[in-house]
Assembly symmetry: C5
Homo-oligomer: 354 residues x 5
């Protein structure tokens, strides 16, 4: 899990602004797709080199350049040069262990956040860094690998559904962020299901595996919380930023997005509280069961050990043991033993151990 | 319990502002009731379609439109169109997993909060989302299902009791909020009773079921706390909002409502602290009882196991065991055994185990 | 303990501002006492009806009207009418489950807080709500029952001791608040004594009752903390309020009062920390004792069970057991058994269990 | 430890500003020492009455009046009268359970704080209240008893070392505060040593006494933290105060003092975290040892109890037990018993209990 | 670990601003190295005395004076005199137990922080204090000993790589800070590896040593957190400082550095949460194993103790025991014993203990 920091050290000592891809190489090749649209027109294509998409900078249409794969540093460098992106910001984009952040660089706004996807095979949430550059009439998004949560958004642009084709680049940036945050709810839902399953296991048949599963979920939440917490200030900052890039028209949308973010954080906190309560319950049910085990042992031992002692007495081979000769001694001893056992049972009954 | 998030994912990928009802379908049909009143007049009726209640928009009387049931999206859409409600706000109203919020949209104010009702059968609190639109001379309230906590309020309007018939729409909105918050105290009271019952069970006869019941109450509080916490900022925001819709006259009422909200939050926190203290007490009483069980076992075993060994010695069949021939050996052995037992009892007495 | 919420529900559904006494009926009849004084004059009397004390409103002397008992709503209503007190504030005064608060209503200032008294019989702190209305030249105080912490203050007024007779109504209000907060220290002191007693019990002879007593004190503190916490903002608010009713002259007194309040809160927090540390110590001492019990059991059982087995062997009745015939077999076996026991004792010694 | 509150109640009901010494009578008689100095001159003397040191008020030299012992109220009253100190502030000086505070009274500044000294005999930190009045050209300090941490400071003044003789009264006040805070580090160091000793005891041979010692240190820190926490605002307030008494020249000194205060608070927090981690470790080491004890018991009992049973079988006296007649039955039984024991040992080995 | 405070007391009582080296003497001699550079020129040399590097103060080039070793107070004093550094700041530089801080002294800015290095032999992080004085065209850095994390930075200056040779002294100061913070990630990475190893040990074979190792890591993190936490305000303060020494050009670099600092703090918090979760898991796995041990004991004891008792009965030597004469009594007893054992096994199976 702390793999995040494994690669960071490879960068230690380099000049700030030196472009090195920090992170796992998640995709084979870098893919660039460009979408250009306004209310009437729509063009979508895959481009080989960044230079192909430069004309769009001058066009009045909205352009969305999506870069999948960060390991080819030259691609980011070329984009940086053409779109005037500060080297430190290029560095941030390449460094996939980045904390979510928002930065207003006058001619563009950078938003870095984490895209969560639930990997059903591993039954755990996966995280991927996504960086968004919002310019005057373009949005550039950088992802670590192909495959994302934006297909429905692309469908809406292609089909001209909703208001997206009639809005500017800032609405596109908002729609991208909204898709990302929407997917957080999918992860929350999966976690919610796991919590439900665990809660049920806890009340019916708690096993050490249940505890381990609760522990794993807890650590997963702790680790991903780091990606979600800073979102509050990122989206809040975006709402408050005094930049012409963020027009008044999208203020309600950003506020809505902010509300969703708060809701995500609230839910994560609630999950943590619930899991913590469940751990307490597990621990006390372990204590309870131990108590029961001990009671069984104590009752058996306390009843039969004295009886065995009595039987042992009359198993002794002394020559002079007058009781042994009396014909009613044996049944009488049975009586004594039954009385002792009954007395002890009564004693345990009184103590409410039975 | 995390059913809240189950339905959210069905909305992922849709365009923001797309109207989809997110939540359980709690009522069969959508019911719209309209109350129109001022100091002299009062009309109450059930309407079939939203259009019927449009004339009231122009009238100087106060109108309260109450919509029960959110699953028919077209109803909300029609209301939205006629009363000029932003699509994102319509979406919020339909999304029943909403966090409590307040939004000032100039021509109207939206307040979303949770209505709590204590279900005595399930012995737990139920939550229902209620959205309130406060306009110039109207209030529209949206509920998930029929049945609410507003009957006493309706009675006051019908009977002309109190000052409500002489006040404007904002007082009506306040009165609705006040009814909701007042009902929180009913839930708090029920929780208080459950805590009292548990506390008593804890001091007289703590059982694993007691722990489970404490756990359930804790989780219930954690989950509902999410609905109550944001109320502080919602009501506080309403108090501070610089809108002509909120006149100075109702400021003391809102302050009073705010005080109640703080009191609810305080009580929830107190309950959590008390429950947490009770869990600690339960756990230590489990330890205490275990201790007692162990002491009983130890005392029995430590006394009789050595005695049984002594008896075992003289049960051996060696040909040359001179003690067996001595006539006073048997009574002497009894003496030894009683001495051993007494010595051990003294030892345990000294250790304060008896 | 959550009796506080029991009565609240009886008010649910009533119009805001409806006057209903919420709380236990603590006194039989409502008593009104009036003190009127300035530097030279002093009059004290019990009045039958509120109207009797109206003339003092016009007089330049300071008047203190003290109302004991809240169950007669008409008394509060009459006072409210004559002194121009807002219905919502009258409601607050009657609702004894109120959170401490301060409100500046221009012509008067309301302060509601809790008076703590230590009930030595029940050995727990009792809480009573007290509401103070500070007007231009009068102070009205409302208490739930007769009997209060103000006797020394009354004595100072009667005897003309200190500066009180020469100061205005706001100094009187301060003196009342000061008396209340001073009494908090008495309760803190009693709690301190209980903590000391418990701490001693913990180090000498911890018993389950000690734990229960710690738990009770903890819950008592949690519950009363609710009354004390909001005092910080109440007194702080009073210090900062921009009202002519609070003159500059009493600023140092209010600052002093504020310091005392902070000190109370600090002490309550310290007590909670100390109690929490004591609970941890208790729990670990339980574990320690359990450990000791187990060691005794283990040592006894581990030594005598093997020996009993050896004795059991030679108690068998096989026809062919050559050892039984050997004359030195019996003493030799004793040797073996002593060796086994010694070896085990040495083993436990090495493990530091002895 | 809560002796702090024992005496407070003796003051309840007195008029605010009434001078009563609240606290333990730590010194026999009140001693007043006066130091008067500037760059060239230096006079030090013990005075009998306060009046003797009044001329210094007019002189341009810096005067330090130090009062040891607070039980003689008249001394403080006389000083108060001559130096114009508000009665409430005189009260604060006399009340030794005071929370550290700073107050700017225009003509002088009051600082109250706690002086910590480590009592090596009791092996615990002792606290003493010290109040400092900073006037135009004088500093008055009040201590509970003789004996303080200012000897080195006095030495510097006497010897004219450092810059102190060339600076004003505010530098003297700073130097006094600095001496007090410097001594906090001595206490921290002693605590650090105790923690180190405990940590070592914990890893080598944890005993119940170790736990008790950790508990005592924890309570000591909790209790003294109350004295240290408010220092942050006291010194911070002194730094920010807009008084001509605090000249710009000593700003860097105050900032330095503030840094030290933060460092003290940081260290106290770190100690608490470390102690809390140590308690956890102790508790789990107790669990671990219990586990080991149980394993030993279980192994012994589980092996020998079945064997004893087998031996018991052939100790029975039935007339018809054919096995008893067979000559190889006895050695065969030995074989069986060894096999059973070996099997059980293997079983425990597999479970990693051996 | 609290060695930090050991030396502080040696300073108690000295005049503020007295220069005494507080800390361990880490290096043998004081080494001063000077680097002077601009875009074209670069000179690096070791100097004997501080005076040698004075000419650079007048030159337009950037000068980096690095001092290794703090025990020779005269060196710092000489530098202080020549560069106009306040005695209190010199004192701070010499006091190695300093809390990280930033101070703007108009003609220069002081930054003190901790340099972390991971000592692979001791397998723990080592801390060293580094103080940086940023002047108009020079940077002076003070370290406790030779050997630091700046070699790559020096390499960049020597080789003229990156933009450093073209930037001013403030960029150099930033680059030094950046190197220090970059190294924090190396330590974080090492801690991450240790956590991973512990986590694995925890799921496969938890041993008391695992717990001890977790405890050690926890204490290490608690202790070093003290060095990292204040960095947020140090770097944040540097970003906001209104000094001509910090030009606009380096604002984005400082913001970047600030982001890294926040990331470090986030990670430390995450580590603490993860470790705390692991401790809980360890403790419950101990409980689980104890439970298992107890079950084995209980099953063995509960089955064989009653059986031994039965065998004991027929080992008694009474003259009149009719059962002993019956030929089928012995096999019948075997049947009874097998039935008892089977019944108990079934009982335990039902209880899910098997």
């Amino acid at each position: 899990m702390p793999t995040l920091f494994k690669k960071t050290s490879s960068k230690t000592g380099l000049s700030p602004g030196t472009l090195v891809h920090v992170g796992e190489r998640k995709s084979e090749s870098v893919t660039i797709t460009v979408m250009t649209y306004d209310w009437e027109t729509f063009v979508e294509r895959k481009v080989r080199s960044v230079e192909e998409c430069l004309p769009c900078k001058e066009s009045p249409t909205v352009t969305w350049i999506n870069v999948d794969g960060l390991h080819d540093v030259s691609v980011i460098e070329t984009i940086g040069k053409h779109f005037g992106i500060h080297p430190l910001i290029q560095e941030d984009i390449l460094h996939t262990g980045q904390r979510p952040k928002m930065e207003d660089a006058d001619s563009y706004i950078l938003v870095i956040l984490k895209m969560l996807r639930y990997d059903d095979n591993a039954d755990k949430a996966q995280t991927e860094q996504i960086s968004i550059i919002l310019g005057d009439n373009f949005v550039i998004s950088f992802q670590e690998a192909e495959g994302d949560v934006f297909e429905p958004l692309r469908g809406r642009i292609r089909g001209g559904k909703g208001r997206i084709r009639g809005m500017g680049a800032n609405y596109l940036a908002y729609a991208i962020l909204d898709s990302v945050v929407d997917h957080y709810f999918v992860v929350l839902e999966k976690w919610g299901e796991r919590i439900e399953t665990l809660e049920e296991a806890l009340t019916t048949n708690p096993k050490p595996e249940t505890l381990q599963a609760m522990h794993n979920l807890k650590q997963e939440i702790i680790f991903l919380r780091k990606s979600v917490w800073p979102l509050r200030e990122v989206i809040g900052g975006l709402e408050r930023v005094a930049s012409p890039l963020v027009s008044d028209g999208i203020a309600p949308y950003l506020r809505d997005l902010y509300d969703h973010t708060i809701q995500v954080i609230d839910s994560v906190e609630t999950y943590q509280d619930i899991l913590s309560g469940m751990t307490d319950l597990y621990l006390s049910s372990v204590s309870n069961r131990m108590n029961e085990v001990m009671k069984v042992l104590t009752i058996f031992a306390s009843i039969f050990i004295p009886l065995t002692f009595i039987a042992g007495i009359y198993g002794m081979n002394f020559d002079f043991m007058p009781e042994l000769k009396i014909w009613w001694a044996y049944p009488a001893l049975w009586g004594v033993m039954i009385a002792v056992a009954a007395g002890l049972l009564l004693f345990f009954k009184r103590k409410k151990w039975l």
